[in-house]
Subunit: 186 residues, 2 copies
């Protein structure tokens, strides 16, 4: 287990640092007194400021109406230590079980939304629904990240990236090419 | 260099295999007799069938009007062997240079679109603009992948995942958890 990671506030305009590499995330929600968690691999950064993230959340998912009705969620970043929880959460339904209890995860209180933070994750991004224009047609939610919490170490957490068919890629080495960038591109 | 990779046809409904892990891609386009290439990290799968991919392509990018006007592009998957081209393409403008020539890349003829395939990439996905409803407001293009070409080997190419600030993460080891999945989730 990752233990109880101490988190620091993190600038919401910089969450691309963690989401642009394309990790599987755990999306937590709360509605009508109940919480839920789902796995999600279909997301993209859309803007730095406001800090916008687009997520395709299938209508068949128990979390879909919870997030739509509450207009909120938390996008949490699990590491390889949580792979059993990630797989388990993706293969069960919140209609049948309490995912926090079943997968031994801790629901911490968020600061700006009612949906809970998942303490065991490396980072948690509190989100409010910013635009639902594509929800009906594509199940595509545009969220604004309103508060970000990130563990100080490690600088580059080992994240999980889903390829389909039950196979995950784990994030590998880091290459710094900063010296080849034009300053305005950084 | 990666050399001239032999590509096979690949099912368009399965391109999540390569895009869901979140790699940097090279988007090639053609309009009014000129080609261009841009780097892109802000993309997400939206649907298996039709095979939909959403891409945030900033309006300040030279490729934006080319793709909007032609209604086409090709999403190409570079590997670590192409990191200098990836960085170079992201730090120059097609308004000033011919990126194929400058970065020693080969424009191959696509089968269903006018935009060129980049031969040196591991995979190329021919795309047609499917829905432009969010282009004005968010620079978000929804494409349908109409034809996919993928190199047979390696099964898991070393892809580049951008974290901002000039730093890339390289795809690492693969973990197979297929046995823990419910059949309908595979």
């Amino acid at each position: 287990m990752t233990g109880h990671l101490e988190k620091n506030d993190f600038p919401v305009s910089q969450v691309r640092r963690y989401l642009e590499p394309g990790p599987i995330v755990l999306v937590s929600s709360k509605w009508a007194g109940r919480t839920n968690i789902m796995t999600l691999g279909w997301h993209t950064i859309l803007e730095f400021s406001p800090s916008l993230v687009g997520c395709m959340i299938s209508g068949s998912n128990h979390s879909h109406p919870m997030i739509r009705n509450s207009g909120e969620c938390v996008i949490n970043l699990p590491t390889t230590a949580l792979i059993d929880a990630v797989v388990g959460i993706g293969n069960t339904s919140g209609a049948e079980i309490d995912k926090f209890a079943k997968f031994d995860l801790t629901a911490d209180k968020a600061s700006d939304v009612e949906a809970p933070l998942i303490r065991e994750c490396h980072a948690s991004f509190e989100c409010r629904l910013h635009d639902d224009i594509l929800v009906e047609k594509y199940n595509f939610f545009i969220f604004e990240v309103v508060k970000a919490h990130v563990a100080a170490i490690p600088a580059y957490p080992k994240t999980l990236h889903y390829t389909g068919d039950g196979v995950f890629m784990v994030s590998g080495k880091v290459i710094n090419r900063r010296s080849q960038f034009r300053p305005e591109m950084l």
